[in-house]
Structure formats: structure tokens, C-alpha cells
Symmetry: D2
Subunit: 400 residues, 4 copies
Amino acid sequence: MDFAPDATAHEYSERARAFLDEFVLPAEPVLDAQLAATPDEWGVRPIVRDLQREARARGLWNLFLPGERGAGLNNLQYAPVAEVTGWSPRLAPAAFNCAAPDTGNMEVLNEFGTPAQQEQWLEPLLEARIRSAFCMTEPDVASSDATNIGTRIRRDGDHYVITGRKWWSTGAMNPDAAIFIVMGKTDPDAARHRQQSMILVPRDTPGVRIVRPLTVFGYDDRDHGGHAEVAFDDVRVPAANLIAGEGEGFAIAQARLGPGRIHHCMRALGMGERALALMIARAAERHAFGGALAEQGVVREWIAEARIQLESLRLLVLKTAWLMDTVGNRHAMTEIQAIKIAVPRAVQQIIDRAIQLHGGAGVSSDTPLAELYAGIRSLRIADGPDEVHLASLGRAQLRS
Amino acid sequence: MDFAPDATAHEYSERARAFLDEFVLPAEPVLDAQLAATPDEWGVRPIVRDLQREARARGLWNLFLPGERGAGLNNLQYAPVAEVTGWSPRLAPAAFNCAAPDTGNMEVLNEFGTPAQQEQWLEPLLEARIRSAFCMTEPDVASSDATNIGTRIRRDGDHYVITGRKWWSTGAMNPDAAIFIVMGKTDPDAARHRQQSMILVPRDTPGVRIVRPLTVFGYDDRDHGGHAEVAFDDVRVPAANLIAGEGEGFAIAQARLGPGRIHHCMRALGMGERALALMIARAAERHAFGGALAEQGVVREWIAEARIQLESLRLLVLKTAWLMDTVGNRHAMTEIQAIKIAVPRAVQQIIDRAIQLHGGAGVSSDTPLAELYAGIRSLRIADGPDEVHLASLGRAQLRS
Amino acid sequence: MDFAPDATAHEYSERARAFLDEFVLPAEPVLDAQLAATPDEWGVRPIVRDLQREARARGLWNLFLPGERGAGLNNLQYAPVAEVTGWSPRLAPAAFNCAAPDTGNMEVLNEFGTPAQQEQWLEPLLEARIRSAFCMTEPDVASSDATNIGTRIRRDGDHYVITGRKWWSTGAMNPDAAIFIVMGKTDPDAARHRQQSMILVPRDTPGVRIVRPLTVFGYDDRDHGGHAEVAFDDVRVPAANLIAGEGEGFAIAQARLGPGRIHHCMRALGMGERALALMIARAAERHAFGGALAEQGVVREWIAEARIQLESLRLLVLKTAWLMDTVGNRHAMTEIQAIKIAVPRAVQQIIDRAIQLHGGAGVSSDTPLAELYAGIRSLRIADGPDEVHLASLGRAQLRS
Amino acid sequence: MDFAPDATAHEYSERARAFLDEFVLPAEPVLDAQLAATPDEWGVRPIVRDLQREARARGLWNLFLPGERGAGLNNLQYAPVAEVTGWSPRLAPAAFNCAAPDTGNMEVLNEFGTPAQQEQWLEPLLEARIRSAFCMTEPDVASSDATNIGTRIRRDGDHYVITGRKWWSTGAMNPDAAIFIVMGKTDPDAARHRQQSMILVPRDTPGVRIVRPLTVFGYDDRDHGGHAEVAFDDVRVPAANLIAGEGEGFAIAQARLGPGRIHHCMRALGMGERALALMIARAAERHAFGGALAEQGVVREWIAEARIQLESLRLLVLKTAWLMDTVGNRHAMTEIQAIKIAVPRAVQQIIDRAIQLHGGAGVSSDTPLAELYAGIRSLRIADGPDEVHLASLGRAQLRS
């Protein structure tokens, strides 16, 4: 249970931190300007390409991916790097080619894809030549319950035909998102967790229709390719596009979830640290009623509580990473669930207090806080609301 | 201490409720369509004009305004009507010509304006021919502390010259917002609360410059005329534009605040009721893990807690209204402060839980919840953050 | 919906307040001394008798009881008086002969008792010549679910025979508690709410056995007659001791609950006010780190929050009382449930913060705070835990 | 940053756990019976002596003490053992001779005592032949502010003369508590943190007067020797009784605090684990409204939240222990403060929820929960209230 970053992790996170300070944070206003200049586009902006080039040259590339195709970092080593990227969630993950949902999609292809699937889709994703989307959640059913899925994937000779409607397909508004991984039911009569399959659907397949973009608290997350509602109307793809095999969809989703959740938590810690840093700076510089905010008891309490929360939850994230590395994702399920619940909730409170301390600047775009809030708030819903995870974790304790 | 709506209040609120159900709620998607059709405009949309015409015909007009020019309702009578408008804050207040900041500005002109000022600005506002803005908050100082104000209003012969920078001037992006009430210091050397004055600045006066719109979370509140940063660079207006007299600014602001705060709270109750109604509907219709959400203990607790909060805080709002009507705003200061703190906070929690229950639909624009959240969250900052009011209320208790 | 105390209520509560200040609060250390002098006794201490004599002489007697036998106050009129007694829960309710469980028991006898039952038991209770106990809760089952009750009441000729085990029989350790009202099942096969009956069991009936006293946190509540576990082993009483009729037990319990709950809430407000008064006094007088506690932001927030909570919840209690008086207890069920949940919880937080502000004096017997805490904490369990009421209230909202 | 228990720690904690299960938990009712049999005595009960004998024979003795006189465990190794003792705070710490305040007093004598002081007082303490008390807190001043101390220690020839009044001298009611370590001011004019000294005062010195016992939520903690108010009226002791030197009192107190605080937190985790275990058992076995409590969503949430809290805070405690072992107590101040705030607060909530789930059994002595609550609640006051530590920690962050 040694959580300290080893030499490799230390070295990578130092370099990531330097890159953040030198390139990423200064690029934030550039991104804003580029977004303002082309308000109707959904593609990757030039500044992201610039950052990617620089990051790749520095070896800060695909660090999330275990194995030969990535940098060879395990979860515990990747954690401090991912936390750094959380300081600038609009730019840093993309700059390092470590942004969701591409990360999860690359993991799926890396672990479950055939060589042909890997060559066609994984390679260009690893080089950031294309982007991807993951089409899982559906508007009509509670998607935390996988047996609810309504999308159908029917075998028809050498093809599969997909029919259904998805939403919250993050990144799918971006025309560069060339490939969609779609979850649906191949056999609704099979055992509960063997009904689902995953299949690769190229964006330009007939019948794929981008219905509309969705917003998160008013943000369209255009810089990430947004979040799309996507209709699949009798979409026909070759049978070879199926990933792993019929009935494997639930298992693949589970395999994808563990890393996805912990990566979100690692980044969330960075978001919390940035909010705390902004809170501290504001408290020191802002005056009201004859004194600095830093001298007010309530402000000090907020800062102290934030520090305590971040310290204890970081340890829980690191322990989870260590467990995933040593005993495997499956035996770290309780811990993964615990951080999925606890980290976003705590970081949300930290960001909310930072907003309060900044007043009007906090809710506007003059600080990154309101957008960070929207992001962290939706994390408490994405991939199962807190309450589902609490119930599951409570049940596990009752059984133990 | 009789809080029950009397016959007048009952009759008005029944009519307002019927109007809401019949006209306003169905108009919400129309507004969305009109906004989408002209995404770059800041003016009032046609649907609002339609609703205004209909509401005025039904006598649901200027109900907020005491005295002869309004409908003659006191605060206690206005409360249930204002609550109804909170169900649709983007449309209902404007439809009834009861939307901030026009309401507060009309109150100021009604109470402190000269006949000439009233004729020129109050009359068209009462008929919704123009809109207005209130320029108080400044980006560089904590505006909850009035002695902080940096804007200067200097006498120069028959004119005043205004120099300063304001932000969060709600409605000012709307080109129909023809008149701005600006707060500034006429005498920085006077006693603490006699330094400030208020002055009328027509929008088209040379030196008035709309710097940029601000966003609240990701919303630009375009349908309300947005929130502007406004620069005043040596803006010269006739001396007759001063309201009430030099040094009266703080007193006018105080007089404007009481009604403003309670109106916000009344509407907030309606926002909370709408979120609760959505929560109940969702709980009844949505199924997961083999049962309706309504059967889950946590959901029931949220609904019960929301009902308890709304009931108890409505009583506190009504008591406050009753005190304002009977002993005057000045003697209701503790209660006004109490509701300013307690109501938005409770309603925020109700809306947040409604969001959580709605999952992805909650954070998107498919429900009004995320936008309601942004609105109520910023209320906890506007006109002094919660913490300033808590400190003040605590101090008052310690003195009592 | 006029909640203001009328002339009667005003006059009674003024007199109660004067009596509290002049007699009851000064008697608290006397009670402590008398308790310390006879540590093994469970009976009423002399100081209580003294206060009863004085209160009765002043007409502050049996004020809780509606109708001819009481003072003729309705719930709304009684509320401010009951709140006054909450300032000193160990002494004031008993001094006014308004202490639970005697109040509820007197109500039951007053409303459902035969003339003979009233003569034998109600009259001496009204004169405080005897005390009583209410034996409802059982150690082996969740007593919030009335169908769980295990005690049996079997007809045997002209008698009933009672067998079962009860606990939390408040007051039953006091040898003067001459009469027990016992709830049990006469017909376990009847409809769910027609199985239960209530019966009068004199303390000295063979087979009645006081098993042991219970403690609440470390308090034995000796001054209230404690809380007993009581065994009923084939206890035989005349059939005439049955109250109202077989199968009426549940309905009587329901009738008893409404007033019982609101009286608890009224007193709880007084407990909260006393804690707040102690908090304010402490904040003003105590110094640390160079300043009075009153100057610390956190302390001011606690005081402000307490004031807001007490104001809004008092209004909810008054509205509930008004509803009970005007439309009847049955139509005030939602409000009764709401205050049962909300008031003790809020008052608990106020007392807890007052404890925190008093440091070591807060947890010890040097202030009344720790004992107030124990009392209010157990209210959140007595007569159904908060969670049962929240679920029930939530369900009612979902149906409405 | 390797927190895993090493072989030594693992072996000790396994043995401690076995001893707890086999001897300590079964001894709890024995202690209750012995306390009931001699209700007026304050000394150690026979069962504690029995457990001490057995524990010592098993080498589970003085494990808290670093260095040669103890078992040679460092903080990280001691942590899991101390957590085990938290399961039964009335018996286990005393059984292992690891109970406060003796532990802290032994540490002081071990680190700062002269050979003569060690021979006279440390040796019998290490063998549990005597007990001790630490007289620091005073009734008249906020003791979190050391400059407030009112007790005076005046040099008079070969003696010191002590005058003052202390309270919350834990253990001092026990007549076996033969030695008191008293903090007072030797030089009120010295620098702020050089005014205080510590001195050894044998219990039987003339002028030492046990004024009264104090209670914590009704508990007199008789099994720990209670908590005393102690008066020192011109108490004369030899100059050789001074510990370390004049002006060293503050530094000694600081040195004593670090281990004291972390030991409290380690034990508190055990208290939380016991409450959680009781909650789980109750949820599984208790039925209401047709189902086990375990099937209710709210119960599952409580259990899940408790598990998450205990996991994350245990890691923070272990990191703190590791820091104390590796970089020293002084460089672990932030972490020590963080756990001092966060652990008791979280454990308090867990115990409170366990109480709620147990209903009447929870507040009574039928479960250990109410007494655990009283203990953990007072920890949030002892040695500086949470708010003082939050302010200090917040200030440190603002400086960093």
C-alpha cells in the first residue's frame, strides 16, 4: 500500500505541471477567442492542435493507456498526471490525447478490438487524427440499469442492423468524430447481462443522424465536440464491426467503466485544486467592510475544509489506483464506487464555495469556476447517479 | 398576523394561475424557437409582446406597484401573484410587466422621481414601451459594501458628469432599455451613507458604452436583455436627471432593496414549486431497477423535505410581507434579511435534487431546471452574498 | 390564517413567562440539590410541588386541555404558553400540570373515558395527586408500525388478561404513577387497524412488574419519573377498564398523537430559544485570541441561522395549530408530520451549536444544554423516527 | 508513503483483535455489573485488572510508547492496534495500559522527565500500579488559547507554589490517580509561549482539592476515573518537581498534543467501525412495514456513506502517522489538525445514524452507542474546538 509517486510518476507529473503552466493555462484565453471567432463550428480549434503538437513532442502523449501502445504507466503512476490535466479540463486532456470519451474508446479497442479494428480506428485515435464517440445512454430509459437499453442490434446476413436513439454522446457533434461505439441489445431474451453487445459504427454510415446538441447548464461544450442526441435508423454495418462477440457488451462496458471512473476522479481533484487556488488568491486580494476576505472566519473555514477534503479523497483515489494495479479492477469495485460518489460531490462543494467567494465573477465566464461547476455537477449523474452507487455500495456492505 | 390571502389576493392569484397555465407555460417552447431563430438579438421577442397584450387585457398588469399607478395591491396581496410568476421566470414576470429590474426602477421613479422624470420615463415603463437598467454593481469592488463604490458623479454647471464602470446591469443588452439608473458618488468626503447619489442616464448619451454581455453559468439570459458590463466615460447629463438629491443614493437604494428582495423570494417559491412538481411527475413516471422512482426511499425524502421547506419559508415570506405592509419596510429588516438568506438557498437545493432525479434531462435544456438553478444560484450572490447577510443578522441578534 | 396570539393567548403567555422568570428558572438549582440529596428516589421532588401550588394559584394549570375541564384554550392559544414551558423542560411542564405523558393520558380519558374512568383517574390527574404512564412501545418490535405490537389483551369472563412487555414507559419509575394506559391486541385477526385496544391498568395490579429504568444518553430523567421497561405477566383487570371499546386502540392512539406531537414541537421551540439565548450570552462574554466570540464570523452565522430557523418553524407550528383548531387534526396530518420532522431536527442543531460554543460547560451539567440535547435527540426517535415520517409525507405528496 | 501495516503491525493488531473478541467485548457487561454494584466508587474495577493481567501476559502492553520502555512501535505500526481499542473505549485502552491521559503523561515523563521523576512516577505508571491526571483546562478561560491560562506557579525558595483552578482533569476522581501534571504560568511577562511551565503535583499534597466530578451528557465516566474540577490552593511542591524547566510548558504541551490527537483519531476510527458494524447487524435483523431495514434506501445510503468516510479518513490518519514517523510531528501539523477536525466529526455522524437506526435502544445503555456519542462529541471540544483548528488550518493555507 505504497501510494507515493515513484520516480517515473514524479517525473511525468513534473513535466505535465510545467507544460500546464507554460502552455495550457496561457492558452485558455486563446481558446475563448477562437471559439468566439467561429461560434458555429464544433471541430477541434487550432490552439488544441498546437498544444497537441507540443505535448507529443515532449512525450506527454497517450499517458492514460496501459501496455505497449501507451506510455506504460500504471494507474498509480498516471494519477498525478491526470490530476494536473484537471486544472484545465477544456484544454489539457485533449492536449495530452487523454480526453474522454476517446480514452475509454481507445481502451476498448486496445483490449477487445481485432487487429483490423485496431488498425482502422485505434491507430488514428492514438495519433489524434480522428476523434470518437461512445453511444450508450438513451433518452427514454434509466441508463444506470443496463437491462433497460432499448437500442437493437440485429444480425442480418453478413451485417448488423442498428436501430435506436442515444443521447449524451459526448464529442459526437464534432465532424472529426469518425467512429461511434454503440451499445445495444443483440438478444433481449438472453441472461440479464448477456443481452448487450457493442459495435463500431462509422459516422458516415447511412441512417446515422445527429439530431441535436445538448447543453449542460447552458454550456454546449463545443470545445469537446459537445454532447449529441443521435438517431440510428436501420443503420447497417458489416458483422466484423462487432466488438469481441455477441453478449459481450455488458462485460466490455464494465471493463471500460473502472478506468473511466478513476480518471474522472483524478481530474476532478485537479479541478478542486484549481478552485481552491482561486479561492485562496481571491481571499487574499479582495477587500470588503474594511478587511481582506482572508481575515473572515467563514472564508478560512471553507479553505480549511477544501484542503482536508482534497487530501483525504486524493488518498482514497491513490489507494484505488494501487488496488487496480495490484489486485485488478474487479477487486477494487467498492473503492471505485466510493470515489465515484465522494470525489465529485466534494469537488462540487469546493467549486461552489469558490464561486460564492468570487461573487459575480464566479458565475460568469471571467473565472473558469461556473464551467467547472457544470462539468462536475453532471459527473454526479453521468454513468449512474450517486444514489445508484450509494445503494449498491450499501448493499455490498450489508452482504459482507 | 393574518397571512391568508384576502378576496382580492385570492382573485388575482387565481387569474394569474389560469393565465400561467393557459398562456405562459405553452409559450415556453415558442420563446425557445424565437430565440433560436434570431440568436444574435437582445431585444424582447414577439411572444413576450403577445403575452403582455393578453395579460394587460386581463388586468394582470403592473401588479407589483403600490399606489395609484399600480393595481393597488399591498405586499401580502401581491405575494401569491408573484409566486405564480416564479413558475416561468423567463416569461411570466415580463408578461405581467412585473420583471426586475424594471419593477425596482419604476418604484424608484414612482417614489422619488420628479413629475418630469415620471412623465419621461415612468409612463413608458408602465406601458412596457421601453425597458430600463439599474447600474449599481462594479467589477472592481465588493458591492455589498456601498462605501466601496468607485463611480463618480461630478457637478459641472447645469450638468453632472459620470465616470465609472458597472457590470451585472441586467437588461442593458436590450436596445429597448432606454434609461439607466446609475449609482455613484457625488461627495466621497460626506458621511458614509451620504456620499452616494442616483442619476438618470439615457442609453444614447455620448460616453455610455456597452462593453460586453456577461453569462450566468452558460446562459446569456438574452430573453431578459442579458447582463451587461457598461462603461461611463465622461457621460454628461442635465442636472435635472439627478433623483431626489445629492447624497440620497444610499437611502434610495435601501428603499428599493426591501421590495426587490421580497419579490425575488416570492418568485423563488414559485420556482421551487415548479421544481417540486417536476420531481413528483418524474418520480411517478420513471422506472429503474424494476420499480418507479417514487418507491425509492431517498426520492420520497427529497420530496418530503421540499414540501416542508416550501411551506415554512412561504409563511416566513408572508409574515415579512405583512410586516412591511403594517409596520413598514424599515421594521421588517430582520425578516427581509432572513428570507433573502433562507429562501434562495432552500429553493436551490430543491432544484438541485430535481436535476439529480432527472439525470441528463435535468442538466440540459429539456427541462427548465438547469436554467432555474443558474438563476437561483446567482440570487445568493446578487445584492450581497449570503454571508454578508448572515453576519449582519447575527450581529443584530447579538445586539438585541 | 391569522396566527397572532389573541388577547387570551397573549395574557396567558405573558403570565407564564413571568412565572418562568420569577419562579421556574431560579428553581432549577433547587431541583438539582434535591435530586442530589435523594439520589435513589424516583418520585416528584418537593420543589415541583411548590411550583405546582404557585402555578395553580395563578391559574396556570391544565392549560393544555381543551374543553371544560381545562382552561379552554385552543391549540393556537396554547402554543405560546407551551413554548414558554420548553425553556425549562424539567420543571415548567410539570409545574403547570402540562407534562407528558400525563397530558396525553388526560386527553384520552377526557375524550374516550367513561364517567367512572374519569372519576377514578382523570380527576386525580387533573389535580396532580397522581401521575400516569402510557405503555405503547415494545422492545422487540418497531413500534412505528402499529401492526407489530406483541402485547395481548385477552377477554376472560368479566376481565381482560394482559401479557406483554413494554419499554420507554415514561414516568413509570415514579411510584406515584398510579395508572398505566396499555396498548395491546385484542384481536390479531381483525383488520389491520382494528386489532388494537387500550386498557387501564392500575400500577399495583398483580403481574405488573417494573423491570428496570432506561437511560437517555446518560440521563435517567429521574425528575420526570424516568423511563421504565415494564412486564405484564397475566395481568388481570376488570373488563370495565377497557377504553372506548375493542378495536379502538389504533384510533385512540391516532387521536392522542396529533396534540402530543404539536405540544412537543411547541416546547421544542422554547428549548431552541433558550439555547439561542445562552449562545448569545456566551458569545458576548467569552473571549479568545484577543476578541469576544461575538466578533467571530462563524459564531454570528450560527446565531443568524438559529434565528431564521426558529422564526420559520414557529410559523409552521402556529399554522398547524390553527389548522387543527379550524379544520381538525385529521386534516392537519401533513402539517403535523412536517413539524414533527423539522422542529426537533432544527432545535437539535441549535442546541448542538450552543454546546460547541460553551465548550466543556456545554457537555457538562453546568449548562442545561447537554440534557436539552438528550431530550431533543430522543424526540427524533420517539413516536416514529424521522425517516418513517419523511417517507409517509413524501408518499402523500406523490399521491396529491 | 507506504501505509500498509508491516509484519510487526499486522501481528500486533491481529493479536489485539483476538484479545478484543475473546476477552474485552465479553467483559463489557461484567464492567456494567461491577459499576452497578459499587455505584459510589471511582477506582478501577476488578474486571479491568483482570484484563490488564491477561493483556500484559500476551505482550499487549504499553504499545503506544515509542522507545525502549514501550513495545518499540512507531505511529504507523501502532495505528491499527489503537483502532482496535476504539471498539471498546471503556475497557480496551485501559486493558492495554494505553488509556488517556496516562499515555500522554507517560510520554511527557519519558521524554522530558528527570531520572528521579521517571523512577518515582513513570515506572509505576508503566506497570499500571498508579494512574495519573493532566491538569490543563481551566473553567474561566478559553483553553484553546494558551496565553489565557490563569493558574500561577511561583518559585518560593526550594519550592514552587501553585494556585489556580482546573477542570476536565480526566481520571482525577480515581483515588489511584497519584500524580497530577499541572500547567501554569511561571512568568506572565515572558514571551507569549515562554510563560508556561509544567509541574508534578502528587495527589495528596496539601491544598489539592477535588472540587467535584463533571458529567458528559449525563455520563460520569466513572470507569475512567471521571473528569474532575480541581482546586490548587497554595499547593507547595519541591522545585525538583518542575518538568524540563521554566517556560517549557507550552513546548511540552505541543509535544504531547501531536501523539494525543492522533491516538484519539485512531481510536475514533474503531468507534466508527463498531457503530457501523452495529448498524449493519441492526439493518439485517430489524423489520418494519413488511421488510428488513436493510432493504430501505436511506439505510443503505447511511451504511455506504459510513464506509466511504471511514476508508478515506483512515488513509488520512495513516498518512499522518507516516509523516510523524518520517519527518517528525512538527512537519505533520497540518495533517494532525486535519484529522483532529475531520475524524471525530465523521465518526459522530456515523454513531448518530447508528443511534437513529436503533431507536430507543440507541439512546439507552442497551447499546454502547449513546456513550460512544458522548465521548466523540466531547472530542470535538477537547483540546480546542473544531472552529479553532479550522481557522488555523485555513490561515496556514492562505500563507502557503
